[in-house]
Point group: C2
Chain length 209, copies 2
DNA sequence: GTCTTATATGACAGTCACTCTCAAAAAATA
DNA sequence: TATTTTTTGAGAGTGACTGTCATATAAGAC
């Protein structure tokens, strides 16, 4: 989890001791952090405490995570999303591609890593610093998506229409995610995201708005 | 500017010496900061330098701006937007209300404070810390807008459809703003925002996407 | 297995944003 | 003018992050 399909699945036997150790350290730090966050809250937990709990030095902590926020927000989804999108036929409407490529991805994650995802999104919702960082991530994802879609459809990389569409979509999805957390992840995330896509595809004018 | 219509317009004769001094101090700090940012960049400028340039103590700096980022990002627009929206007829479609209420506001600002707005948005674009903070602001604005619109249309305050629409709209607008800065503010911001509204209103399915 | 090289780690010192407390200065009020 | 309230500056402290250097440990050559 979180580190893609790595130590959890035995699908990577070709990794040297070094790599395996690194992955274990990384997960150790993250788990220690999550445990402390849950007990004392994010702000009240210092990097020093996390490092001590994970039995590494503070220096090592920062070697694995550039900032404290990154423990929560390291985004492993972008490359997966990109790959999934590139597999769609080039002439498919963008909205359909997103529906076919991105939604299943989210669905799969909401299933496989449900609890971790929930805890993570809860922090996003509640801790201002993390929420802010999340916005940054979104704008990076946005740029990435725009690039992929522009390449695929032969548009210029700075096509305003495309940027607007992607920005709007991510904006809508973020609200959807927040709604999902607020209901403690009880709803079907995939269905929610699809509904969001429907609304945006049909136009805000419809849907009695 | 920036501090609404305060010291710039002589429309506030009823302010005591205390208030006037506070406004002057605030603007002094901001101007000193902008000058330094332009010369040395945001990150390379310390709060201590800003305070010195503005001839106040660092303590005073933090009394006026809770964080260094707030010098750039203090958002005075939300209340104006709220007021403008509340003046629209309650049965008007949301998209139309936004078009009538918010766009003129932006237009007016892009005209009156063009250079300051440009400088500010440039920082938003280029400095990660500020961009992140901006995302926070957006999510606050989003909540605010949703509240107003929910009240106006009699929907529940946590109506998912409404949240999605507003989130998407702000997401789209943010991209539009970025496009505007990238072109050095030469385009008509109002027109750009309206176009964004058109795209979202008609639905992403149209517009050949 | 040993030697060499590349990499990971920890200790430490330093910077900077931000917080808190307290006493002095200045404006508002009586 | 005297009193009260607000604003300010000084100073100490915290915690996230950076950079450097010596040590330890895994990888690769032999």
């Amino acid at each position: 989890m979180t580190d893609m399909a790595s130590a959890t699945t035995p699908a990577a036997p070709a990794l040297g001791l070094r790599e395996r150790k690194k992955i274990r350290t990384r997960q150790g730090i993250r788990h220690a952090a999550y445990r402390l966050f849950e007990r004392q809250g994010y702000d009240a937990t210092t990097v020093e405490q996390i490092a001590a709990a994970a039995e590494v030095s503070p220096s090592t902590f920062f070697r694995y995570f550039p900032t404290k926020e990154d423990v929560v927000l390291t985004d492993e989804y972008d490359p997966l999303m990109e790959a999934a999108l590139l597999e769609r036929p080039a002439d498919e409407p963008i909205v359909d591609s997103l529906r076919q490529a991105v939604v299943p991805l989210a669905r799969q994650m909401a299933a496989g890593e449900h609890d971790e995802m929930l805890q993570r999104m809860r922090l996003v919702r509640e801790v201002p610093a993390i929420r802010a960082r999340m916005g940054e991530n979104m704008s990076v994802s946005c740029g990435l998506l725009v690039d992929v879609l522009a390449r695929r459809t032969g548009r210029p990389a700075d096509d305003l229409g495309l940027r607007i569409v992607v920005g709007a979509l991510l904006g809508g999805w973020q609200e959807t995610m927040m709604h999902w957390v607020e209901n403690d992840g009880t709803e079907d995330l995939g269905a929610l995201l699809e509904r969001t896509l429907d609304i945006l595809a049909d136009g805000l004018g419809r849907h009695a708005l």
